[in-house]
């Protein structure tokens, strides 16, 4: 049984695009995490760290996550490739998470004003937390 509307009869508004973004960013984060894990194994993670450290690195490829392991050359783990990957993963995850918070709030705040406040606050959170996270990665 198919009940799907054709594309031109569906409203393509911001919420729909964010619905799609949530799914696509989930796949994107899977790609980044897999890339981090595979990259770590290529760089010698198998003999230089334990499983927990490998996962910590995969979820966020930031040098401080492997500082206390037996990696031979820390500079390899902090090159621009990993910093850019970490930044992209961070921004993707932040947008995904902040939109998730807006969705959760919408379940409990039904008023128009309340929802506007939630959206305003979500932008404030992204503007403040974005640069802070990038500074942690690049500093």
């Amino acid at each position: 049984m198919r009940r799907t509307l054709p594309l031109n009869k569906r409203g393509l508004n911001f919420e729909t695009l964010m619905w799609l973004f949530t799914r696509l960013s989930a796949l994107g984060m899977y790609a980044f995490i897999l890339m981090g894990a595979i990259g770590a194994l290529i760089m010698g993670a198998r003999t230089q760290m334990n499983m927990a450290d490998l996962m910590r690195w995969s979820f966020m490829p930031n040098t401080t996550h492997v500082q206390n392991t037996n990696v031979l050359d820390l500079s390899m783990w902090s090159n621009p490739f990993w910093k850019v990957s970490a930044s992209l993963l961070y921004l993707l995850a932040m947008a995904h998470g902040v939109h998730g918070l807006v969705v959760v709030c919408d379940d409990y705040i039904a008023g128009v004003t309340g929802r506007k406040i939630v959206r305003f606050l979500s932008i404030v959170v992204m503007v403040v937390m974005g640069p802070i996270g990038l500074m942690v990665i690049w500093a």
Binding site: A26, Y30, N50, A52, T64, A93, G97, G111, M129, I132
Partner: protein
Amino acid sequence: MGLNRNVSLNTGLQYKGREPMLTFVLHRIGGLGIVVFVGTHILSSFIGGQLGHAGNVVYESWIFQIIIFFCATFHAINGLRITILDLWPPLIEHQREAIWIEFAVFIPLYLIAVYVIIHTALGG
């Protein structure tokens, strides 16, 4: 509009949404857990010093790891299920089976991780 749900908490708790509802609730709890953890973790790394170090002691404790690993793993696996079913709508017919597969992946993975975390915490 506005919140006007004439349903008592007791009635709400008796709602039998079964597996889809359970995954919905756990997905939400997991998502909020990740937001709280990642948010405070970034802030404590940014602040650094004594306060930041105190935060990192909490994150490295085994109890915290068991909780956050549940949040992250369940959110990731359930999110993958939602993504696959939503991007390939014909598959929605098999949503119950999809949830069973999800738990078949999640439960062993999580139990192994809990075992490893506790084993490491006991100095193994």
